[in-house]
Amino acid sequence: MKRFFAWSAFLLGSLIFILPLIGMTEFSLSMRRGEYSFDAYASVLSDPQFRQTFTYSVVMALVTIVFGILLVVPTAYWVRLRMPHLRPIVEFITLMPLVIPAIVIVFGYIRLYNTSSWLPLTGTSTGTNILLMFGYTALALPYMYRAVDTGLRSIDIATLTEAAQSLGAGWVTIFGRVILPNVFVAVLSGAFLTFAIVIGEFTLAALLNRPAFGPYLQLVGANKAYEPSALAVISFVITWLCMGLIQIVVRLAPKPPAQSH
């Protein structure tokens, strides 16, 4: 009986998620009347705007990931090592982006950094890109911080740090050769989540008027019939590739299971 309910719940869930997917995929393949074809995909992929916006978002995602790692890993490490009493506060701060809507963040940015402010970042496209990257970092912060913090918990960072120090290592060596490699898997899963977030993000990019993939998705969705479905399928595949990569990296990483002491 229990089994029956478990299975029906599972089935119902699958239907809710899978049926729309199937429907959407089916629709994206039906551009040509009466037969299935990849015409919609061809149309999407041959659109130069698709390539431009997608490349832009991928580059932004990579930059955001690098910046996020450099910001989050040392912070989480230092808080755990030297200021464990501040952990709840830091954790709370990293959760803020989940409660503050992106639109609030972006209006704040525009107010603070507009062309007549003391730091007119929005005046140049590089400046705006930097601003956008900060915004993306904030959006990804809850996921990045949690992933890294969990990774740090699985190793005894205090003793490893002291062991490295007694062997003559300074902070840069400790960070690069001891801490980072041991939280590598956690950092990667944070990185892939960041990637997925940045690729699909709309609000920040649209309001800062940057040529990103999210606004392009919206534009195509408003003006075409079959292409939006094809784009959605492509985004979906990219997201799942990210998830799959996390799994593969976790399996293949040479890092042994955490020591249990």
Partner: protein, 354 residues
């Protein structure tokens, strides 16, 4: 002692308002193996961490090889450290772990490889260079940790309860191995433990610590046979304590139960009627009269435990009781509970506890 290699001079450490180490002084000679022995929370780790540089003394100074290192950062001290939890880098192989300190020091690659091979030889793990720490037993991991600490040729080796996480058999074999390696390299070593047998068996000298202070510093023989304080006497080894009443301080006579004990020395600072505590090791007491053990007391056997090669017997002496060990002899049956018995010991072996 000639010029001490490690000098801990009037070191104090407070955390907030609690004083954890108070006025700690110690001179360690070059090549010496010193153990810090004491109960949990007495400050052993804290003193060791100040020598390593992980804690800064509140006052006092630490000198290593003629150089004041009190304010130096740990990575500038060239002091090797071995931790209870091994603390091997999980992402590096055994060989890479051992090479870590050499790489940090920027040694040429060929030298590093040679030194790593040497160290693997030293800890007898030649075949294990490519393994990861999680593929080794606890004892093997700790040997790697030792090799890693020794590889950069540190001036000083510090070990904080390195054997506590291991099971009994490995503990004994590894402690002998640590001692053998230490002697071979002649490296000055400080070893922290709360296991008295460990400390007694491998140290040149032992520092018995209690409440953030060094209670006594001495060779294992001195610590065991001539404990300076009541704490040391009780903490190290098994001890029989007899409460007695001074009958004649000048000649050192003390009444114990119905008998009388004549001490080797007179009791300075006591007068007739005072109570004193007399302590005796179990092996210093014989059942029956023995040549060379002139003092005798009469009593009754209250407990007999057969331990194999030795038999531990408890003898009641009125209010008091003592434990003593006799060797098992297949020819004669062990004493029985309730038998009248006489114990004997030498006045030389009686410790007067103040």
């Amino acid at each position: 002692m000639a010029e001490p290699f490690l000098k801990i001079d009037h070191v104090r450490k407070t955390f907030g308002t609690t004083t954890v180490v108070q006025d700690f002084n110690l001179d360690v000679g070059s090549g010496e193996f010193i153990s810090f022995l004491g109960p949990s929370g007495c400050g052993k780790t804290t003193v060791l961490r100040m020598v390593a540089g992980f804690e800064e003394p509140t006052s006092g100074s630490i000198v290593v090889g003629g150089k004041d290192v009190t304010r130096l950062r740990p990575n500038q001290r060239n002091i090797g450290m071995v931790f209870q939890a091994y603390a091997l880098f999980p992402n590096l192989t055994v060989a890479q772990n051992i090479a870590f300190g050499l790489k940090v020091a920027g040694e040429p690659r060929a030298d590093i490889e040679k030194r790593v091979a040497e160290m693997l030889d030293l800890i007898k793990l030649q075949q294990f260079g490519d393994r990861y720490p999680y593929q080794l037993s606890g004892g093997q991991q700790q040997r790697v940790a030792l090799a890693r600490a020794l590889a950069p040729k540190p001036k000083l080796l510090l070990l904080d309860e390195p054997l506590s996480a291991l099971d009994a058999k490995v503990r004994v074999s590894l402690r002998d191995e640590i001692r053998a390696i230490q002697k071979e390299l002649g490296i000055t070593t400080v070893f922290v433990t709360h296991d008295q047998e460990e400390a007694l068996s491998i140290s040149d000298r032992i520092v018995v610590m209690y409440g953030g202070k060094a209670e006594q510093v001495g060779t294992p023989f001195e610590i065991y046979n001539r404990p300076a304080t009541k704490f040391v006497a009780n903490f190290v080894g098994t001890l029989n304590v007899l409460e007695g009443t001074v009958t004649d301080a000048a000649s050192g006579r003390v009444k114990v139960g119905s008998g009388e004990v004549l001490l080797k020395d007179k009791l300075n600072g006591s007068k007739a009627g005072d109570t004193v505590s007399l302590a005796l090791r179990p092996e210093a007491i014989s059942l029956g009269r023995q040549p060379g053990r002139e003092t005798t007391l009469g009593g009754e056997i209250s407990e007999v435990s057969f331990l194999g090669s030795v038999i531990r017997v408890r003898v009641g002496l009125g209010q008091e009781a003592v434990s003593l060990d006799t060797f098992n002899s297949p020819a004669s049956p062990p004493p029985a509970v309730g038998d009248k018995a006489e114990i004997s010991f030498s006045p030389d072996d009686v410790l007067v506890l103040h």
